[in-house]
Amino acid sequence: MAETFDDTPILTVEARLAAEALIVDVDGFEGPLDLLLMLSRTQKVDLRRISVLQLAEQYLLFVNQAKDLRIELAADYLVMAAWLAYLKSRLLLPPDPTEDGPSAEDMAAHLAFQLERLQAMREAAAQLMARDQKGRDFFARGAPETVVRLRQVRHTATLLDLMQAYARIRTRDEFRPFVMDRHHVFTMEQALDRMRGLIGYAGEWTDLASYLPPGWDGHPMRRRSATAAHFAAVLELAKRGQIELRQGETFAPIEIRRRET
């Protein structure tokens, strides 16, 4: 590669130095600005006094040589080359007063600024990394004590919560599906439970009325409820074949007895 290089006509020292940059893999550059910054170093002057025109020439030479060497340059290198070629022509020509837009000097100044800024950031990055670093130069506590978290639960309730809770309970009472007074209702389930316990002892025919629980035969409402419940329970037990039941005639007492098994 270097030999191919030497064959190409190189006119200036700067250009020769620039050409040496080719030896560096193009992939090693982080884009055209990085390459420009590298090329600018060959001018060996403060970046603030750099000749952008000269830099443009160096860059264009680099791109041409890359082309000669059939090195494929990324698109942004070519875009930069086109822009620098334009800038170079503008810098070489006397300013055209009819032309709008920024002057060539402004563009050149901005490019110089960009290079200076990138260089400054590189130096800042180097200074930053040269600082003492934690875990390398200085160290944190190796055996930190963990803070014990004592969790204390505090229960809260407001007066409103309290009243709403009470209201909820009372409202629930009012919403009982049985609006009838439960005191006067004997359910079939209750009767069934009762009868199941009692028929075990009943071998003889007995009047159903005698099975009514104590205290349920006085008040008419209670008697009716208990009677109905027990009658329904007895029918259920007969259906299950646990008892037999009979009635002599209409309105005669209903008698039951345990069915022998």
């Binding site: 004592l150 505090r154 009243m163 809770a165 309970i169 007074d181």
Partner: protein, 212 residues
């Protein structure tokens, strides 16, 4: 790297003050207590580690951290009297459970009330935990035993309860009528609902409370 006061030769041990700094830094950064042997090993040649440790220990006397011996090794530890700083109390406020607030409400409105009565009013069993929680919060306490068979204990609300809910006495609790007026009982009773037969009982239970 030289740490060096001027006259020190290349192989001389650092001055004691410097050795003390070194021990201090090593012990600070170490994850575990460090033995004298290991300290000696890690420090420049010729250091007197036991002496440096003795100096350092004195320096930290009465400070917020102490240099302590842990078996054969040394470590920095928080001064025992400052242990409380290593605790962070996190107060977490939590709403009282529905069962608890309902039980509390029943005690407040019906006191003195037995557990069986609470269960009857709520319609479900009251867990031991709920009662315990309310006792622990100091919002309810045991009242007099009821003079009925089994002599069950009763529950009443406490001063702390009144304090927390901003009540002068349990009598200040709004009654059902007021609750309804306040819109807290906006659920209208179903059609044909009989007047609540318990209303009288509740009232009598409450009046019983305020006799004494």
């Amino acid at each position: 790297m030289t740490q060096a006061p001027a006259e020190r030769s290349l192989f001389a041990a650092p001055v004691m003050a410097e050795q003390e700094r070194m021990v201090e830094a090593i012990l600070f950064a170490a994850a575990d207590p460090v033995t004298v042997a290991e300290l000696t090993d890690r420090m420049p040649h010729g250091c007197d580690v036991p002496e440096a440790l003795a100096h350092l220990r004195r320096r930290y006397e009465g400070r917020g951290v102490h240099l302590v011996r842990v078996g054969e090794a040394w470590a920095f530890r928080t001064a025992p009297d400052l242990g409380f700083l290593m605790q962070k109390e996190a107060v977490e406020t939590r709403k009282l459970s529905r069962a608890a607030i309902e039980t509390l409400a029943i005690v407040a409105y019906h006191q003195p009330v037995t557990r069986a009565e609470i269960e009857e009013i709520r319609g479900v069993a009251v867990s031991r935990g709920t009662i315990d929680q309310l006792l622990e919060l100091d919002w309810i306490r045991f009242g007099r035993r009821r003079m009925t068979p089994g002599r069950p204990v009763t529950f009443v609300v406490t001063e702390a309860f009144l304090d927390h809910f901003g009540l002068e006495s349990a009598r200040d609790l709004p009654g059902l009528k007021e609750l309804r007026q306040a819109g807290l009982l906006d659920n209208r009773p179903g059609p044909g609902a009989a007047p609540d037969p318990d209303e009288d009982d509740a009232a009598s239970g409450q009046s019983e409370l305020f006799e004494d």
